[in-house]
């Protein structure tokens, strides 16, 4: 993909460095401009993370592990993690089974729902705008948590691979979920190239995506990565059914309806795997990770609320 447009002094300097191919151009860390806005910081971090996924055209792949850029990334990550922990409401107290407590906690979470709006009221233009925003994650669907696989004890590692095998199409590229989304985008007349809509992605979308990378790329945060996965899967089947119904109501792209229909069933399986066979056994094996599992779950739900608030507010919808 191409580098996006900078959103402030920090992203301007860092993206310029990426384009130049030499981190020498970035100068001493102490002299780096502070991020001017949340957008400036989040876009910079998103681009540094992209070096660990599929990278940018015309950017030297070696810069992924450039010590200066890693130091920049580290500062931005520390700030993001600090904010995630500060917003977290804390681990709920419960008696008995983790799985039941987890499902109950997710079910009682109340936030604004974009899927419900799409199902009943959204215009085609609003759906197109939402699909563009969702593409930032869905075109790398399941990739962040793939980094977590080698960092797990035996049982959760096998179970996560079983889930990921399904996400990645069980050996069939045409069933790989990110590819299904790309196919749906094409059918909607959108550009399915990664990063095509990065310039339009608002701050909450970038933060949502950065959080998954943060959790996935740090072994220390493997509990948060899996808690995030579990909450994501446990809040997916119903909303995906509503998205599909909204697309059908507007008579839009059957291929994108198929993407969401696939997720109704896939995620009804995945939520059980993620909660009962991945997070539960992880906590049994490594009890010290339980707080982070709940942190990851909370972050998933909270960041989605912010994305929903952003779009509903932008479209003038009163909750």
């Amino acid at each position: 993909m191409d580098l996006p447009k900078p959103r402030g002094p920090l992203s301007e300097r860092v993206l310029g460095t990426l384009a130049s191919g030499r981190s020498g151009g970035i100068g001493p860390l102490a002299a780096l401009p502070a991020p001017e806005t949340g957008d400036d910081a989040a876009l910079t971090l998103w681009c540094l993370y992209e070096l660990s996924y599929r990278g940018f055209e015309d950017v030297d792949d070696r810069l992924e592990w450039d010590p200066t850029l890693i130091a920049v990334r580290r500062d931005l990550e520390d700030d993001l993690e600090r904010r995630l922990r500060a917003s977290w409401s804390g681990r709920p107290s419960y008696e008995g089974d983790f799985a039941e407590a987890f499902f109950a906690s997710v079910e009682t979470h109340e936030g604004p729902s974009l899927a419900r709006y799409v199902q009943r009221e959204a215009t085609a233009d609003q759906v197109m705008e939402l699909v563009q925003a969702r593409s930032i994650y869905h075109l790398k669907e399941s990739d962040p948590v793939a980094f977590t696989v080698p960092r797990l004890p035996t049982g959760p590692r096998a179970a996560l691979m079983e889930l990921q095998y399904d996400e990645y199409g069980a050996g069939r590229p045409e069933r790989l979920h990110a590819h299904l989304f790309a196919t749906g985008m094409t059918a909607l007349g959108l550009d399915p190239a990664e990063g095509a809509y990065l310039d339009q992605a608002p701050l909450p979308v970038l933060e949502q995506n950065n959080t998954m990378s943060l959790f996935g790329l740090h072994r220390r945060l493997r509990g948060a990565s899996l808690g995030h996965l579990a909450a994501f899967e446990a809040t997916s089947s119903g909303p995906c059914r509503r998205m599909s119904q909204g697309l059908a109501r507007l008579d839009l792209a059957p291929q994108m309806q198929a993407y969401y229909d696939e997720h109704v069933q896939a995620d009804a399986v995945h939520e059980q795997l993620a909660v009962r066979l991945i997070c539960g056994p992880l906590i049994e094996a490594e009890p010290e990770l339980e707080d982070d599992v709940w942190l990851g779950a909370f972050s998933c739900l909270d960041l989605e609320d912010r994305v929903a608030e952003h779009y509903l507010d932008r479209w003038g919808v009163t909750a």
Partner: protein, 70 residues
């Protein structure tokens, strides 16, 4: 639930209040005698009767009051 040290892993897992997980390739015959082949590494078979995609679970058990779930 399989723990890290559990020898052998069940191929059928009953989820309290939710579906029955089925690992591997199977043919499932529904109430009407229609056979459905599994299509994914693990499938979730509806146990609550409320799924719109029977015989597969679609998460609809969550819409049922907790006491009435399977």
């Amino acid at each position: 639930m399989s723990g890290p040290s559990t020898p052998g892993t069940p191929d059928v897992v009953i989820c309290p209040g939710g579906p029955l997980l089925l690992r591997g390739d199977h043919l499932v015959r529904d109430e009407d005698g229609v056979e459905h082949a599994t299509t994914r590494p693990i499938s979730a078979v509806c146990r609550c009767g409320k799924s719109a995609t029977k015989p597969w679970c679609d998460g609809n058990h969550k819409a049922i009051p907790e006491k009435l779930r399977p």
